[in-house]
Amino acid sequence: MSLNQLDLDNFVDAVKVNNFGGAAALLPKLKIICTTFTFTENQQGIYEKIFHRTLLENACLYYVKIKDILGFNRNFAQVKQYYDEKHTSILSPSQNHLLILGLNLLHLLSSNQLPDFHTELELIPVEMHKDPHIRHPIQFEQYLMEGAYNKLWSSRADVPSETYTVFMDMMFTTVRSEIAECLEKAYKNLSSEEALKALKFQSLSELSEFCNERDWKIVNNYIILRLEEKKDAKSELAADKLISQTLSYARELERIV
């Protein structure tokens, strides 16, 4: 028992100081140890459960740090069962509880799985929403919905833990393309400095690369966003849609006896 505990402590320390090699070596060994546990409902089981839970939490953190999202998903699915009501009543609360939950929420946001984000959020009791780990993803989602993108950039600065930055970076590529679409629709043309500020690029070269991808022309430090006015809506008939609708009416009417 105590040998296993020593291994676990080594693993936790390795993850904390970002010693990925050491952590990777210890992880399979610890998982094998967990399989030898027999979980029963009696008092003995509590030590094993806490062991397992700590292992899974730190495995989640480890996978996030080495940017292995699939590994994070796997371990999170396993550790989630320790957070439901049955277990929180018998086990002592874990320190990383809210951190792991917040990480998962941010992960769902960054991969644009909004329905899952909201269903997960429902499972978290309202009192925990005030905790900075949870509040951060919630506010992030609000800013995203509103479109206050500069608030998004500033929220990057006050993350509760540096593990969040991994997901934040993934998010910013998506956010950038969103901002670009907004700019296209809203502005006729934009000066380069403004574009730099809006898209948060560091230099003009990155900006010009981005513009080339999107077919924006750069003229005299101005970026022309819209190429030409779209054709009038009047002259276009959405022919396919009209045909399918009318056909469905005819079919239904024929069915009336």
């Binding site: 329905p115 429902e122 239904e252």
Partner: protein, 497 residues
Amino acid sequence: MSNNKDITMKDESSSIEIKLNETENKKKNEITVTSVLSELKNAVGLIEKTGTSKEQRFMVRALRTTLSSLRKKFTTLILQQLIFTTLSNSLLNDQLIEYLSKIDTVELSSDEKKGNSNLPEVEIYLQLLVTIFLIDKKNYELATECASSLINRIQSFNRRTLFPLGAKAFFYYSRCFELQNRLSEIRGILLAAHRTACLRHDEEGQATLLNLILRNYLHYNMYDQAYKFSSKTSFPDATVAGSQAARYLYYQGCIKSIQLEYTEAYSVLMQAIRKAPQNSATGFRLSVNKLLCIVQLLMGEIPQRSTFRQSDLRVALKPYLQLTQAVRVGDLAEFHRVIKNFADIFRKDKTYTLIQRLHHNVIKTGLRKINLAYSRIHLSDICKKLNLDNVADAEFIVAKAIKDGVIDAIIDHEGGFIQSKENIDIYSTHEPQEAFHKRISFCLNIHNEAVKAQRFPADAHKLSKESEEARKERMKQEQELAQNWVDEDDEDDEMFL
């Protein structure tokens, strides 16, 4: 002095009145006792007929009359007499009387003849009555015991005639646990019973259990599992009572609204309102209306004022009316004030998280109004009107709103203002066609569902000549079927409070 005299005079006259009232009440009580008892005996007779003839409609009728109208008039005396005179199984007899005696003292009158029925249907019916009575008297532990033993008995039988009784029994069983906050314990039992009901083609039971399981999951906010469960099972549409269908639609609406599918949630909730009875089931209609209001706001539409004015729902919907007003005007400060004031109510209704999402809806509505009113407006003015923090924020928010199609405008960055595009004549676009299409498909849908819901009368294929009696019986039944929608349900009321 005169005051005292007045008071004493009043006391005397009131005490005389009280005595008169007492004797009147006693007489009334006796009359009601005998009438209720006779109606219950009728119901028992109907159930016996079901047992022997294996036709379910008698039982359905008996259940309907008992549960809606007679339920309020139960007393220990009535039930105890009924049990004594009907059952012959003394073991069950004693058990039930024991439950009753814990509520109230029970006297055994010796002049009634002992009962002689030993059909399982009758026994289960009586046990169900006792359970309902215990729930109504708020003695939840006893009710749970009674309900658990009832469920065990039902599951030991395999009779088709027990299906309607079984469905009701599970309903009250789940209700006992819910009132004690112990719903998670029975999840396994409900799931197993649902499997059995599906195997036996017990459609009433299947529908009831499906709804109970969904309710169980939603009670604990397990939307993910509720969604997966409802996607893997099918709701037996055809032969099921409207009350279960209405409940199912409401639960679907709850799940969909959390998952951001607002248009579908809206259509499902509208169907639920339509299937619910018009004049009763206030609690259910209240919950559906609340959720419907929030979903409409989230979709960007403003609910009509007439929904808030319905007479029986008006008081309870008041916070939602204020919320709608705040969103309609686009005033963020007012919106936050309303949320803070009524936070507890919203949390109890489980609409709090949905309301949080309304934050950006308020901003968008505000923007839309500004855009309609001004052809050109400075960004700083927009900031002031919408209570935003700074101009850069406002610029981004407006840009996003333009991209989402909320407003139709262009931002001029150097000048720092927004210019609206001129309005095109709406009739020349596709808007009218879309609106027509929605209405047409809705009408066609209703027509198809009405055709599907038609029923032949049960004996039409027999082509038998009806005797006068049988014909009267049939007319009475059809009348009661028409009454069905009006009588259902106080149950619904209790369930959705």
